[in-house]
Subunit: 218 residues, 2 copies
């Protein structure tokens, strides 16, 4: 049985390899988990001995089939619990991450499947992130960053890339939530900002913000 620490490492490796493709560096993992590279090296040795990861010294790591499916299961739990917290307990979307970070480590397959059913088999979490099903398959969603939305075309917010509370609260202030209708009116070259419409109302956002909002075209 894996410890919480081991589970967090697997999850970090999954996240980083989903983002950057291929193999993951020691430093990237250390950064992701706010720990030191030396601690990561130690842990990589351990996880590799137990066949959770492929690891060649100085060459980075990748998940084994077994490791990937375990990591996906943790992600599944994390996102299901976030749905529970927001939809059933009325938490706000910027409040749930740290709690789900703990709940994801609760061990009971029965619990996960009953929770899934209770929540009506959701496909996306409160931040628009896809929830893998019991077989580990992620639902597809073709989404592009808001910053790459063609001018004048309409889109719908489907997800956010960051889940830091400060970013999420800022989106609240801008009335940007999952499902909101958006449109780019104009690009301001000199500061890379955008004049936009959000649910029909004119607004203004920076490139940094726009890159972290995922849109599906209407």
């Amino acid at each position: 049985m894996l410890s919480q620490a081991e589970e967090n490492y697997l999850k970090a490796i999954l996240k980083l390899s989903q983002k950057n493709g291929k193999s993951v560096s020691t430093n990237a993992i250390a950064e992701e988990l706010s720990t030191k590279a030396s601690s990561v090296s130690d842990m990589m040795k351990k996880l590799s001995e137990k066949s959770w990861i492929h690891y060649v010294k100085y060459q980075g790591v990748s998940l084994t089939e077994k490791g990937r499916s375990y990591a996906v299961h943790i992600v599944r739990k994390h996102r299901l619990w976030e749905v529970f917290l927001v939809n059933q307990l009325n938490f706000k979307w910027d409040e749930v991450h740290d709690i789900a970070e703990q709940l994801e480590h609760i061990k009971s397959l029965e619990l996960v499947s009953k929770l899934d059913a209770f929540l009506n088999f959701p496909s996306f979490d409160p931040h628009g992130d896809p929830i893998p099903n019991a077989e580990g398959i992620f639902p597809k969603s073709l989404a592009i960053p808001f910053s790459e939305l063609p001018i004048k075309s309409r889109g719908k917010v489907v997800a956010v890339v960051m889940d830091e509370p400060s970013f999420l609260k800022y989106l609240d202030k801008l009335s940007i939530s999952i499902g909101a209708q958006v449109e780019i009116i104009e690009v301001n070259e000199f500061d890379d900002s955008f004049d936009v419409k959000i649910n029909g109302k004119q607004s203004h956002i920076s490139l940094d913000v726009a890159k972290n909002i995922l849109i599906s075209l209407l």
Copy 2:
């Protein structure tokens, strides 16, 4: 912030002092937590340095005010989660203990209070155990062991003392559940067993079983 291990020790001390009054012995704690007396000694030193318990070598331990209130909070979480698992997720009462044993360590006051509200502020868990409120006050219930119910008087099952799955499943088999109407028809002196009525139907239970069922008189 307390570790899971420390929390489990505090909870064990609370449980034992509620059962036997006064101060709790090293061996009793070791037994309760399935660990060794030497480990308990070590931990008692640590908890006492941090003022969670009163501890005098060779004299047993008791909780400080602060320790008691922390332990009660863990119990509150444990029992609220059990209610959630049984009432919302349709677990059976013999399946929830181990899961609640993990969930009780999730740290978020906000979560506890929202869960409490979501469940409609329950006063008793699925085994009939009292759930302390946010102030740490336990609801009262004057209950006596089934084995001490006066002959011919009627009673209602309000709680069970043990929560081992095997015991709970056996009660299921006897159709004994929280709320069931019961009555002792006759005491069989030679084997200390009882002829009883459960929801009107005649049955037969041992002293061991009867001692672990709590009744309130009708």
